[in-house]
Structure formats: C-alpha cells, structure tokens
C-alpha cells in the first residue's frame, strides 16, 4: 500500500494511533505508556532513596512517604512492567508465529486503552487529594481505614486496567492457539511465544481473584459493605488470600516473558539452537502451574498454622527446580557457542548471576521458620528487587535493545547501550545488595526514616548512591533513543545478522499486513533453518492473494473513556456530591453506548488486493 510510507501531519499521526487496531502500533503505544509509567515509578523510587539516604531526614513527610512507596510498587508492577512486556508480546509474538495480527485486533486496542485510562486514573490521585497509602498489597485492615480517596483510586484504577490486561491475555491465547503459520507446531514455537502463551494462561486464571478482591474492597469503601471489616463480622485475612492468589502468579506472569526474552537473546547471540528446548518448554509450563500453589508463602506470619506453612514452603521450594533447569539450559546454550557480545547479550549475561541471587534468597524466605526473622525487613525488599529488577527489568532493557530495530527500523547505539548496561547493572547491585544486610541487621521495611547510630547510616547511603547510578543509566537510554530516532538510519530485515525466528524474515518495521504470503515453517528457528540451507528468506506456504484487514476504530478509546468517567462518579458518591451519580450514569452510558454502536454497526474490514501487493517493492515474505 502506497499510503504506508507517506509522510503524515502530526494530527493525522495522533488520530492514527488513537484509532489503530494494528498490533505493531498498539505495541508502540504500550511501550510509550509503559515507559512513561516506568519513569514515574522510577522518580518515586528516587524520592524514597533520597528520604532514606541519611537518618532523621525530612525530605518528605511520613504520610507522603507511605503514598510514595505505595505508588512506586503499584506503578512498577501494574503500569510499567506488565505493559512493557505486553509491548513486546504485541510487537513480536504475532510475527514469531507467522500471523498477520492478533486474533481480535479490536479487543487488543480496547485492552490497551483500558490499561491506559486505569493508569491515568490511579496517578491522578496525586493531584486530587492524595495517593493511595496502604502499600501496593493494600491489606484490608489498613486500606478500609485509610482517609481520603487514595485507596479508592487504587481500587477503581486497578479494576479498569485489570480488565485491559485480562483481555490482552485472552487475546494472546487465542492468537497462539489458532493463528500459527502452516508448519508452526507447538513444539516449534520460539521460547518467547511459549512464555507469552503460559503467561497469558496465568493472566486468565490469576486476574479473576484480583477482580473479586477489588470488587469486595470497592463495596466496603464506597457502598457500605463489611466484607473485610472485622468489627462487623467480616474477615480481613480474606483480602490477603485473594490478593496473593492473584499476586503470586502475577510475579510469574512478569518473569516468564522475561525468561522468554533472554532465551531468544542467548540463542541468537550464541548462534546456537537453544539448549534443551523441550525441557525449557516443560519448565515454563511447570513454573506457570506451580505458581498457583504457593501464594500463602507471603503470609507465613499471619498464623496459618504449621501444616499450611510447611505445605506452602515445600511447594515454593519446588519452583526452584524448573527455574534451575532454565538457568543451566541458558549456560549450556552459550557453552560451545560463538558468542557475540552485543548490548542485549550484556544484559543476558548480567541477568544470570543477578537472578540466581534473587532465587537463592527466595529459597531462604520460603523456609517458613526462618521467614519469621526475614518478614517485613529490608531482606525481603532486597529479595524481590533482585528477582524483579535483576530479572524483569534487565529483560525489558535487553528486549528494548534487541527488538528496537524490528519495532522502529533503527538500531540503538551499541556503545551508549553498553554504557547504559554498566551504569544500570552497577547501580542495581549497589542499591539492593546492601539491603540484604540492612534487613538482617534489623531494619524494617516501609519505615519513612531511621535514627542515627544503629549501624544503618552507611549502608543506606550506599543504597541511595546506587539509585543515582540506575537513574543515570535510564537517562542515558532515553538519550540513546532520542539520538537514534533523530539520526534515523534505517536497517534491513535482519539487523543483528543472526536472527533465527520469523520476525527477522520480514522488513523492519514490518508492513502493516506483516507477511505478504504466510511462511512455511519447517522446524524450530524457522529462519535460521532456511539460512543454513543457503536460502534468503522463508518459503511461502500460500499463493499471493487478497489479504483481509480490520478497519481502524475509535470505539475502544470511547469504551475506556466511559469507564474512566464513571469511576469518578462512583468515587465521589461517598462525599454526597450531587453530581456524583449523574457522572457515574453518564460514564456508563458512554461505555455501553459505544458497545452498542460496535454491536449494531457492521464492520467487515477491507481487502488489500493482490495487484497492490505485487506492485509493492521490497517486502519479501
């Protein structure tokens, strides 16, 4: 299509993105929005470290500190890490299985806008009377007594963005089950696609408990129910269970795609087939399954009793086995490979020792008896930052460098990338390694300050200096992105030259229909297989024909906007504001009206005709 490469005005580009149903553009939206929230969450982290740099500091007040730690955790998990992973899943997974889009492009756009409006709603709390302050877990005994609207913002914002995540997960599942290219059997799918599949299945099973918990909390806070109010016969522990039934699978939802990204990188830059592919698949599925059996290890000190504690402790340690399988497979992938040290490979190298550290402390805190000592200290803070930053964030940064050329058609500067890596990696260990010892020395988590002379002073200063290094790394990455996009040097299909999977068989960025002809997949690492036989690209599996494409639509934006408006009505209804109920009704009317329009108006999409595809230059598929 000739319109694809045409220069467009700014307004037209914005409208294009507001209405797009193209998985590659939605991926860019996820990347931008997730990146923005990552910066906001990072800024909150910097505030935390400034406040804790010296004893008796008064950079922020105790109340503001509670808001900052709550929003740091919530933002980083729900609004930064998940959307950034969704960005890569959207950008890469359909290409890796040889599909032209996800199964439901409209729902894909809807999922993004729901997440985006939920995130905006949550962050507006800063300007509308105070952010949530009951911790990212929002335990009911704190949350239902929290003054102001902070926790309401948390409940409604996460509910809205949770809908979006659930839709995204279901969409990926259907896509992977139904839309694999001819020859792409399950056991030929790249590991990133496999981990997307398992993570999506986990989203499908893990988000409903969160939805239930948030709904109960919403009724408690906004409509006078007493599900968690002990004085009225409720039970505050049920929130903790509901939250962690969701919350523990959630951390695997984050780490599995991260494993997938690293699996791609290790095999690409070791220029070797991934060692033990089938055991990798098995381990991924097993981690996904066991992830649902361990939630109560977050609650060892709640008083579940020794039997329950023992069961959950053993189940938790069992997850170490498939994770260990993965670690060894990555090492064996590099063993004997012709390793190329690119920026993504730097991150992959840094990931292994960092994540193993987090895994080892994970087994330590999984030991129920010992956990009574670790619980609520900085040891736990150090542990989960080692797995989430050392695992997920390193993977996100690696994935950004690795797939940037595929998403934008330009190559991030390698030298700047490596400097970014060293700044971030050193900063990360400087910040969090010392926190293990702070915890063992007895510093509790979630305290807004500490007294001098308890032996915490130097260690906290070291930790804060580390945060400065990490910030410098992130700023350098942004600089790298700006410089790269300004220079705008376009690259070809396979800029790393060692691409193994289908996404590297098509131009960067891919044409909007992805594959002119669906590729024939003859084995694992489909493109690599063809390259080794001296072919330039994939063999097509079908004759050139018309391609059916979905139309762009503004309706997903409107459906999400309606819920965003309705949430304000629901929240201010408790203050007896006269406009609250009308706003609630107006918002729901917008949402359901938009859904009605979508249902009544037939939208059959359009066809790209064979002749247009033949005219086009480049685009080999």
């Amino acid at each position: 299509m000739s319109t694809y490469a045409q220069k467009k005005g700014f307004g037209a580009t914005v409208w294009d993105y507001l209405t797009t149903v193209d998985h590659k553009k939605i991926a860019i939206l996820y990347l931008i929005a997730g990146g923005l929230f990552f910066l906001i969450g990072g800024l909150e982290a910097v505030f935390i470290r400034i406040q804790l740099a010296v004893p008796n500091n008064d950079f922020v007040s105790a109340g503001a500190f509670n808001e900052i730690i709550t929003m740091h955790g919530t933002t980083m998990i729900f609004l930064a890490a998940m959307p950034l992973l969704f960005a890569f899943m959207n950008a890469v997974m359909p290409l890796q299985i040889g599909a032209r889009d996800v199964a439901f492009p409209f729902v894909n756009a809807l999922g993004f806008w729901l997440f985006f409006f939920g995130g905006i709603f949550l962050n507006l709390s800063w300007f509308l009377g105070g952010a949530p302050d009951a911790g990212w877990t929002s335990y009911a005994s704190l949350a239902i007594h929290s003054k102001g609207h902070g926790v309401d913002f948390y409940v409604l914002g996460l509910q809205i963005s949770g809908f979006g995540t659930l839709m995204g997960g279901i969409n990926f599942l259907v896509t992977i089950i139904n839309m694999r290219a001819p020859g792409m059997t399950y056991m030929r799918m790249p590991l990133f696609t496999w981990s997307t599949f398992v993570a999506s299945a986990m989203i499908l099973f893990a988000f409903p408990p969160l939805t239930v918990g948030l709904t109960l909390m919403m009724f408690d806070r906004l409509f006078g129910a007493n599900f968690f109010e002990v004085a009225m016969g409720g039970n505050t522990i049920i929130w903790e269970h509901l939250f962690w039934v969701f919350g523990h699978p959630e951390v695997y939802i984050l780490i599995l795609p991260a494993f997938g990204i690293f699996s791609e990188i290790f095999s690409t830059f070791s220029r070797k087939r991934l060692f033990g592919y089938s055991s990798m698949v098995f381990a991924t599925v097993l981690i996904g399954f066991l992830g649902f059996m361990v939630w109560a290890h977050h609650m060892f000190t709640t008083g579940l009793g020794p039997v329950a504690n023992a069961i959950f402790a053993v189940a938790t340690m069992a997850i170490g086995v498939p994770t260990g399988i993965k670690i060894f497979n990555w090492l064996f992938t590099m063993w004997g490979g012709s390793v190329k040290f690119t920026t993504p490979m730097y991150y992959a190298f840094g990931f292994i020792p960092s994540f193993v550290c987090g895994g080892v402390t994970g087994v330590m805190v999984a030991t129920a008896a010992a956990d009574y000592q670790y619980h609520d200290t900085y040891f736990v803070v150090a542990h989960f930052h080692y797995v989430i930053v050392g695992g997920v964030v390193l993977a996100l940064l690696a994935g950004t460098h690795y797939w940037w050329p595929k998403m934008f058609g330009t190559m991030l500067n390698e030298t700047l990338g490596k400097i970014t890596f060293w700044l971030f990696f050193i900063g990360f260990h400087l910040t969090f390694f010392i926190q293990h010892f702070l915890g063992l020395w007895g510093m509790p988590r979630r305290v807004f300050t500490f007294l001098p002379g308890q032996g915490f002073d130097a260690a906290n200063m070291v930790s804060s200096v580390g945060a400065a290094f990490m910030s410098a790394g992130v700023i350098l990455l942004l600089l790298n992105i700006v410089v790269t996009q300004v220079k705008n040097v376009k690259v070809g299909n396979d800029p790393w030259e060692d691409g193994r999977t289908l996404e590297w068989a098509i131009p960067s960025p891919p044409p909007f229909y992805n594959f002119k002809q669906l590729p024939l997949v003859r084995g694992l690492d489909a493109l690599w297989l063809e390259k080794m036989e001296g072919k330039k690209g994939m063999t097509p599996a079908e004759p050139l024909g018309d391609i059916h494409m979905p139309n762009a639509s503004f309706i997903p934006f409107m459906i999400s906007l309606g819920l965003f408006i309705a949430a304000f009505g629901a929240m201010y209804h408790v203050n007896d504001k006269p406009w609250a109920i009308p706003v609630l009704i107006l918002g729901l009317a917008v949402t359901f009206g938009s859904m009605l329009v979508r249902s009544l108006k037939d939208d059959h999409g359009f066809h790209i005709h064979k002749e247009e595809l033949q005219d086009e230059k480049g685009a080999e598929a």
């Binding site: 299945a201 499908l204 099973f205 408990p209 269970h241 399954f289 109560a296 008083g303």
Partner: protein, 111 residues
Amino acid sequence: MTNQPLSSSNPRVDLEYRRKKNVEEMRHQVISFTLMIFLTFIAFAVVALKGFTASFIVPFILLLAAVQVVFQLFYFMHMSHKGHEAPSMFLFTGLFLGLVIVLAFMTIIWW
C-alpha cells in the same frame, strides 16, 4: 469432518463414513442419557431410603453430579470431538486451580 453439515456442497465428503459416525454418536448420546437418568434415580433413592447418614449422602450425590457433568460435557457438548483439546485443557486446569483455592480457603482461613 464430523462437524460438517450433511448438506455440504463439498463433493469429496464421504457420506457413508459420516452417516456411520452420526449413528455412533447418537448411540453414545442415548447410552449416556440413560446412564444419567439412572444416576439421578440413584441420587433420589439414596435420599429416600432410610439408613444412610448425611455424611455419606452429601459426598455421594456430589460425586454422581460430577460424573453427570462429565457426561454432559463430553457427549452432549461435543468435547469428545477432535479439536477440543485446548478448551478442555483450560477447563480442567481452571477447575483444578479453583478447587485448590476453595479447599485452602475452607481449611486455613481462621475467623
């Protein structure tokens, strides 16, 4: 194959095979229907007859109900057909995880 309508315009459809399949499926449906009626009858009988305690009756009826659900899913909602592997996998995984969570909530939550 068996899911296609009989009036398909596809000339390569093996009508003989299809008819045989349909007869076989109808037989399965009738058999499972009879069994389900029989199971229901047993359930009523257990309650009606004197001599069984509630601690036997409740789990027993629940077991019969579970068997009926399986019959329903496989013979009437066509889960026995090919191409239903993924849905049934997700169904049973979800069921298992849900039951584990219910079991945990019933045993370890204290009031």
